[in-house]
């Protein structure tokens, strides 16, 4: 078997609140291969968000090991983590987190700015990504002029622009209606089919059914690792809905 993209062993995250010790992650060991599309599920407080912060190098584990693309990032600190986030990970958030009063293309350019890419190359790569998510003609629009679905597409383009190893989507459809949600999921599935590794964090079974693999968390532990042999195809569902209407 090839080396997995994500490899964690006994990930532990402990918070201290007064005298109490809270184990937000209590020994999570998992491998995720390249090209997988995985849903991380669980009720609030289950540790799925903490797990996602670990995977996204936004936070450091109290102990345990995390290897991403062959690098032991659990040993990294500060700006080393920033570099991993910049080069290897693309984030998609529930609330899009686009910079206000900043055009779509400039939002997409942002990770490249911190990667030190020159202005001209930045612009062409950002436009290319916007075209990929179907927003080529909206490049100059500001977030306030875009619909929720369009804003999330801009966010996905931003996540893709550094050609990351991994897309981390935290409730990517939480703020969208069901039709737009299908569009976004269809886009993520399409990206996955083209080889991108996607990890979805959600509490909605409706989102998880598009994933090939579903991880369930409870009280900081991984309690279920299920393979979904036949995930739903969001694009097909959209086409079906269009035919029905």
């Amino acid at each position: 078997m090839a080396e997995p993209l994500i490899h964690t062993r006994d990930l532990l995250k402990v918070y201290r609140v007064g005298d109490n010790e809270i184990r937000a992650l209590d020994g999570v060991s998992i491998d995720i291969a390249r090209g997988e599309i995985t849903a991380v599920m669980g009720p609030s407080g289950s540790g799925k968000s903490t797990f996602m912060n670990m995977l996204g190098c936004l936070d450091r584990p109290s102990s345990g090991e995390y290897v991403l693309g062959g690098r032991r990032v659990s040993e990294f600190v500060g700006d080393e983590l920033a570099e991993v986030r910049n080069r290897s990970i693309g984030f998609v958030f529930q609330t899009f987190n686009l910079l206000a009063r900043t055009s779509a293309v400039e939002n997409v350019e942002l990770p490249l700015v911190y990667a030190g890419v020159g202005a001209a190359e930045r612009r062409s790569r950002a436009l290319e990504m916007l075209a990929k998510v179907g927003l080529a003609e909206r490049a100059g629009h500001q977030p306030a002029q875009l619909s929720g679905g369009q804003q999330q597409r801009v966010a996905i383009a931003r996540a893709l622009v550094t050609r990351p190893l991994l897309i981390l989507a935290d409730e990517p459809t939480g703020a969208l209606d069901s039709h737009t949600s299908l569009e976004i999921m269809g886009l993520l599935q399409e990206l996955n089919r083209n080889g991108l590794t996607v990890v979805l964090v959600t509490h909605e079974p409706d989102v998880a059914r598009f994933a090939r693999r579903v991880l369930r968390f409870l009280d900081g532990r991984l309690v279920e690792d299920q393979v979904n042999a036949a995930p739903d195809d969001a694009m097909a569902m959209l086409r079906g809905a269009a035919v029905a209407a």
Partner: protein, 410 residues
């Protein structure tokens, strides 16, 4: 991110809250403007004092006649003529480092044609002009014959020229001082106000013998060859204190004073008076600038305040920037550049307002100002430093945010 990119991000962030940015800058604007105006006004005052010192001469000793006691009543300096013309001659002879000019002065009404003017009459010698470094604008100084023969000639100051002759050429005119006709042979250059604010140009200089015999004096005075004042100029580069002591001992010897007796004259070292005045005006200028820079510091605190608000407001933005790969120094730089942009823009506007205000003060209030390019440079540097100093804490706060918490911030 390079500095240009940071600057663009900063300008955009500041443009979002234009009014707030402007109000924040106001503190710096007022501070810088105040510093510039105060330095200009303080510098002007100092310059004036320096010029007065120049006009009087910084190496002067002034000897005044002593006090007289009449029936127990002490009448103050100059009430008794204890100095004589011979004292001045003795100083000139005995102390080669000094030039002495005896003087006798008093007020008189002066008449020319149908105009008249009350002015100060100064009976003295040609040395007086040398001692005071007072050049002639026109005409000539006294000749030897006029000095010894009590010639009825005079040299007039600019104010007298203006008041008495208006547009006429004063040289060769005959004026009457206390009914005695005098021929004007010279006109003094403009000298301006003295440090005490009196008009130094309101003067008529006549030979000392003439003044004593014809204008100011009495028979008693004439017998003693008495003078009220002796001006002494110490040669350039010499310690005035040393010469002061030489003059003092010479006069005490001439006046046959016992060792324990008090001086019967009063000897003043103007160089020291001037130095004190110059020092005090410099302290005043410094004080003004210091007070003004307090408002700059207050402006800096305003910037820090708004930057802290801004960091809190934009916590999610900071979290997002960190998530897409901003390093600590990127975030630090972004907010630091924003603070410095605020303070520098404020500084530039403040310079414009300060320079305009200083020029307006010079124009309308007639105050002397000195606009030094260094003070403008100093203000810019200070504004920059304020931005860095007061922007650093908020910027560091932003850069130290935990990305997880920043992204979750509502």
């Amino acid at each position: 991110m390079n500095i240009l990119g940071l600057l663009r991000v900063a300008m955009r962030a500041l443009a979002v809250n234009k009014l707030r940015s402007l109000l924040t800058m106001l503190g710096i604007i007022i501070g810088v403007a105040a510093v510039i105006v105060m330095i200009a006004v303080g510098g002007g005052a100092q310059k004036r004092v320096e010029e007065q010192i120049q006009s009087l001469g910084s190496n002067l000793l002034l000897i005044l006649s002593g006090a007289r006691t009449q029936g127990g009543v002490r009448l103050g300096v100059g009430s008794n003529y204890t100095l004589s013309e011979d004292d001045a001659i003795a100083i000139n002879r005995e102390i080669p480092e000094a030039i002495a000019a005896p003087a006798l002065r008093g007020g008189a009404q002066v008449i020319w044609g149908n105009t008249n003017w009350a002015t100060q009459i100064y009976g003295t010698t040609n040395e007086y002009l040398e001692v005071r470094q007072w050049a002639l604008a026109d005409g000539r100084a006294f000749e030897a014959g006029e000095m010894t023969g009590a010639g009825k000639v005079c040299i007039v100051g600019q104010t007298v020229v203006r008041q008495l002759f208006a547009d006429a050429n004063p040289i060769g005119q005959v004026i009457r001082i206390k009914r005695v006709p005098f021929t004007v042979i010279g006109v003094l250059e403009n000298k301006g106000q003295s440090m005490m604010g009196t008009d130094q140009d309101d003067i008529i200089v006549v030979p000392i013998g003439t003044a004593r015999g014809r204008v100011l004096g009495s028979a008693n005075l004439a017998k003693q060859r008495a003078v009220s004042t002796i001006w002494v100029k110490v040669a350039e580069g010499l310690d005035t204190k040393v010469v002061e002591e030489q003059v003092r001992s010479l006069l005490r010897q001439r006046h046959r004073l016992q060792a324990e007796a008090e001086d019967d004259f009063s000897l003043r070292n103007l160089a020291e008076v001037m130095a004190a005045q110059e020092a005090s005006s410099r302290v005043l200028a410094l004080l003004l600038a210091a007070v003004a820079s307090v408002s700059l510091v207050v402006g800096g605190i305003g910037i820090m305040n708004i930057m802290l608000v801004s960091v809190t407001e934009r916590t999610r933005e900071i979290g997002l920037r960190m998530a897409v790969g901003a390093r600590t120094r990127d975030i630090l730089g972004q907010f630091l550049v924003e603070a410095v942009t605020l303070s520098l823009l404020g500084g530039l506007v403040g310079i414009a307002i300060g320079v305009t205000a200083a020029i307006a003060i010079a124009q309308f209030a007639g105050w002397r100002i000195v606009l030094a390019p260094e003070s403008v440079m100093l203000a810019v540097a200070f504004a920059f430093a304020i931005g860095v100093f007061f922007g650093f804490y908020p910027a560091r706060k932003a850069a130290r945010l935990n990305p997880v918490e920043a992204l979750r911030f509502e």
